[in-house]
Amino acid sequence: MHYLSKPVLLLTLLTVLLGWSAISLADQESKPFAEKRVVLQISDNNPFKQTLVLNVANNLLKHYGTDKIDVEIVAFGPGLRLLFAENTNKDRIQGLADNGVRFSACSNTINAMSRKLGHKPVLSSHAVKVSAGVVRIMDLVDQDYILIKP
């Protein structure tokens, strides 16, 4: 029986570790000097929560400075309405995106809404689709993001 030699094993392990780090670092590349990393969850139907989550994101940027804090807003369930293209908050979303805030849209929710609407909802150009909103949140938490649900 042949086993992997130690150098090959070490090289393989190193590749895996680098790959995992690459995935983790990809989220953090946009704010390499960030001292704090926050994921904001919006999953509520309440329109007031839309205003609240945008206010929290804005307040974080103001307090820490745009380069010192990394913010991602993850929308799923009824909260995905925040990322509809025609949403009344689109100007605020544009402003936050210009300051590096990221917006993730849950594909599971998109599919469910598509069935109800009869067509796919049109999302903001700043929304990035993720396979599942809760999974995205969990992944970010694993990367030391602080979860806040206003």
Binding site: N45, N46, P47, Q50, T51, P78, R81, L82, F84, E86, N87, T88, N89, M113, K116, L117, P121
Partner: protein
């Protein structure tokens, strides 16, 4: 000549001392969008809301000084809509409504529903009961051309189009009250008559095309509506339809909703016909048009508006008496009158200043020139309204108004009976509370 009695002065002084000044909310807002649409992607399925306006109004109750009803109550010194007293507490408005999207995932369909249960010309004229004031659906599918269908405020004067619960004053200007708040009658008043339906409440039943566009810091809005021209909560009574056209351009300084700051210019036109079936039966033109300027920036608020009217001019009551009153000779009953082919115009200017975030001072001067085409029937009504507002919070406020009122028949001698009657128009004090929920 006006009556300014110590009684009213003391009441005014007490009211102002016990009230306060607070910021106004009403100028430079986009009423078409605020009242006809819901925030895209952020509106609830159904939002319950409403407001209550209890108030007290008082005049000195001066009686008619001349004419066939001499010594009886003067309609202009009685408190409406009941016209039975010169001082009264009442629930001026009590409205409850629901608005929303129906299906939150689809912002293209909005609805608005509002009912009135207060004591006013909507609920008391033509039979008193709770009335539907608004019931509409708005379709936002077409870019640049939203469609609103149902019963709602027609696009027109700034004073009429703005939401009543953010109005800076308690009573409307004479021009809006008599030229735009339409009363519906069967005849011209030659025979005894009362309104046959509720006051029009600046509303009609029909379909409206409208939208708003932003260009270089300016917001331009248009609206075109076709309606029955026959008041609220009923079908049309003839084959004619009213046409309403509206345009506004506003330089937006900031803020949002009813408190938005900006400088707005607007103009409007209303063209319609009315059919009388009683005395003076026939079909008559009813045209209205006007232009307005509103301004709101930091502590300052200002507005000016001009309103013109041709046809179906509300022309007061016989002898200035309360309708239904029998004259002293026992030969006639006072009635409301309409001049089907008369002309009129009016205007107002308003200035407000928020002394502190809780307190505001307001002043408004308004003029109505009624029946300008017939010298002997021409009447000029002038009112200077001094006001103070105190905001307990964003949804509750106290308003105090003192109206210095004058009226005359400029085409007649000072000794003529109409001028003797109008000389006794009293000042009026009003105190109103507002609670929005």
């Amino acid at each position: 000549m006006t009556n300014r009695t110590p009684n009213l002065r003391n009441t005014l002084l007490l009211a102002i001392l016990s009230a306060g000044f607070l910021g106004s909310e009403s100028q430079a807002a986009n009423w078409l969008m605020l009242q006809g649409t819901e925030p895209a992607g952020a509106a609830p399925r159904a939002k319950l809301w409403g407001f209550i306006q209890p108030e007290y109004q008082q005049t000195d109750g001066a009686l008619l000084a001349a004419g066939p009803w001499k010594g009886q109550s003067a309609i202009f010194n009685q408190i409406g809509p009941d016209l039975k007293s010169e001082s009264t507490f009442q629930i001026r408005r009590a409205r409850i409504g629901i608005r929303g999207t129906g299906m939150p995932l689809d912002s293209n369909v909005n609805y608005f529903f509002l009912a009135e249960a207060g004591n006013n010309a909507i609920t008391r004229q033509g039979g008193g009961s709770v009335r539907l004031t608004d019931a509409s659906i708005t379709f936002n599918h077409l870019p640049g051309a939203r469609i609103r269908v149902g019963q709602f405020k027609y696009p027109g004067s700034e004073e009429g189009l703005q939401a009543i619960h953010v109005f800076d004053y308690i009573n409307f200007t004479n021009a809006s009250n008599q030229l735009l708040l339409e009363r519906f009658f069967d005849g011209d008043g030659s025979d005894k008559q009362n309104p046959n339906r509720p006051n029009g409440a600046f509303r009609d039943v029909g379909v409206q095309l409208f939208d708003t566009f932003r260009r270089s810091g300016w917001e331009h809005s248009y609206a075109a509506m076709i309606g029955n021209g026959n008041g609220i909560v009923r079908a049309d009574n003839d084959d004619n339809k009213d046409l309403y056209l509206y345009w506004s351009s506003e330089q937006v300084y900031g803020g949002k909703g009813p408190r938005r700051q900006g400088l707005k210019l607007s103009a409007w036109w209303q063209d319609g016909k009315r059919t009388l079936t009683g005395a003076g039966a026939g079909e008559y033109d009813r045209n209205r048009w006007g232009a307005a300027l509103t301004f709101r920036k930091q502590q300052w608020r200002a507005a000016a508006e001009y309103i013109a009217a041709d046809g179906m001019i509300f022309n007061g009551t016989d002898g200035g008496a309360v309708p239904g009153s029998v004259n002293n000779a026992g030969t006639a009953v006072a009635s409301f009158n309409v001049a089907p082919e008369g002309e009129a115009d009016g205007w107002y200017v308003h200035l407000g200043y928020a002394v502190t975030p809780e307190w505001e001072l307001d002043a408004r001067y308004d003029v109505l020139n009624r029946m300008t085409d017939v010298s002997a029937q021409e009447r000029k009504l002038e009112t200077l309204t001094l006001g103070a507002q105190y905001f307990m919070n964003k949804k509750s406020r106290l308003i105090v108004n003192y109206e210095v009122r004058d009226a005359e028949a400029p085409g007649l001698a000072g000794s003529a009976v109409p001028n003797q009657i109008l000389a006794d128009i009293d000042d009026r004090i009003s105190v109103q509370l507002l609670a929005i929920f």
